[in-house]
Symmetry: C2
Subunit: 259 residues, 2 copies
Amino acid sequence: MRAGDSHQSRAQLPLRRHPFVARLEQFLRMSDDDLDSLWQLIQADIRVSKGRDLVVDGFEYRKLGFVEFGFASRYKLLRNGKRHIVNLILPGDVIGLPGSFLDKACYSVIAVSEMKLQVCSINEYVRLCYSRPQFGLALSWLAVQEAITCAEHGINTGRRTPPERLAHFLLEIYSRLEVVGLASKYSFDLPFSQEVMSDVLGLSVPHLNRTLAKLRSDGLLEITGRRVRLPDGKSLEMLSHFQALKLTHVPQARSLVRV
Amino acid sequence: MRAGDSHQSRAQLPLRRHPFVARLEQFLRMSDDDLDSLWQLIQADIRVSKGRDLVVDGFEYRKLGFVEFGFASRYKLLRNGKRHIVNLILPGDVIGLPGSFLDKACYSVIAVSEMKLQVCSINEYVRLCYSRPQFGLALSWLAVQEAITCAEHGINTGRRTPPERLAHFLLEIYSRLEVVGLASKYSFDLPFSQEVMSDVLGLSVPHLNRTLAKLRSDGLLEITGRRVRLPDGKSLEMLSHFQALKLTHVPQARSLVRV
DNA sequence: CGAAATTTTGATCACGTTCAACTTCAGTGG
DNA sequence: CCACTGAAGTTGAACGTGATCAAAATTTCG
């Protein structure tokens, strides 16, 4: 933890406990030195209030933002007035993926709650990748995870019934929050309105509401205020064909002996 | 082209003309030397016949396959017997993304036509990333592109009407084929049965068929055998809210001067 | 406390699924 | 060469699901 001390005041929590780092550690072993070189890229701590736009569809965005806390949604507005939420952004997620890889962002990102994030420029990050290639690989791993999440959303809306979709959604959020220490024992805080969830799942608000009621009456879901509990996780997993992702570790340079 | 000559016999076409290289060149400048070091990873040329499984859901897969020609589909079978195709794999695409990043692949890949691909082990590729970090970045760019494609499929099935979906799908395939030189002037060969397309779009086969008929009668689509023509690309783009992806270039090491 | 946002309930209706039959086409062997 | 086969494409009718619209109930927040 020694190497990170110089930046503690900015990060305001031990680096190793930042949810983004917790996520990286799923698949990448980082020395204190690695961690420190990553943190030196951070240009600013940003606080964002609920409802603020972070990325706007059609405009250039060339930063990476590591979410320390708070929630956001990445969405696209269609010409017919409908909105589709491509992915929800949770603590530990990166904002600017995929926006920073495009001339112009193709989705918007809006804060769903008060948020705090650390921001660096994408060019700084790429420079780091040239000196420490494992960060380029880490970025690949993150992007692959993003791709899988989106693919599952496609399966949800394409081929699953509304109760299956909702069950899958709840389990996905649960498992993503668990990785960063914000959920355990099938229980977590769900800071999303039903309108947001319906735009993720491709359902109308009334129908989502009825679907929630159904899962509740089937004993698969309990809601108290913002708190969600899944009393029978296994049944939910069966119902929704949910499988937790197990990412491999990024191989380390020295372990890759030429055959 | 000098540097690649030693491997010409294996690649069987000039390296620069391989569709995967054409795709990479969208966003990465590669020297002959870079290209050669990539091609040295190739362990085998593989030919696959129609209907063969390349990746199987639930099994380990630790390779990258660069498609020289032919088509495949990446799909998941649900317990209720339905199938959802997460993405179609075209010439220039990579097989094993995302499968190689997981303990066990979470989707299957099946050849939809005769195929040919060049294969290397994922570990060999990662080793290359440590010596030439731009390949790690390239992998990120590819994964981001994959994520965006999947996200658009989610929007398709979540919030677009069947004609919009189909229009978007046709334009997506067109623009992906165009990048690798297999389509031009809004015309291309579409080697997918209606059953495949319906599993991409989350529609039943009869309804997809009627939707095809509708686009045809609206003068937005002409089909002769396998050949597809989109007589009014602009209207299709309007109808489906389609936007071509413009990926940024991967910054080169020397262009990233510290501020 | 009042205003606004969110959640819940109800009634109607259109869209897309399902299932079935029929057609067309490509490939194969008699 | 034509008959046969199986796959792919096309069409039709009936049904059910989830959207839509509207209104009431509840919660949140200024």
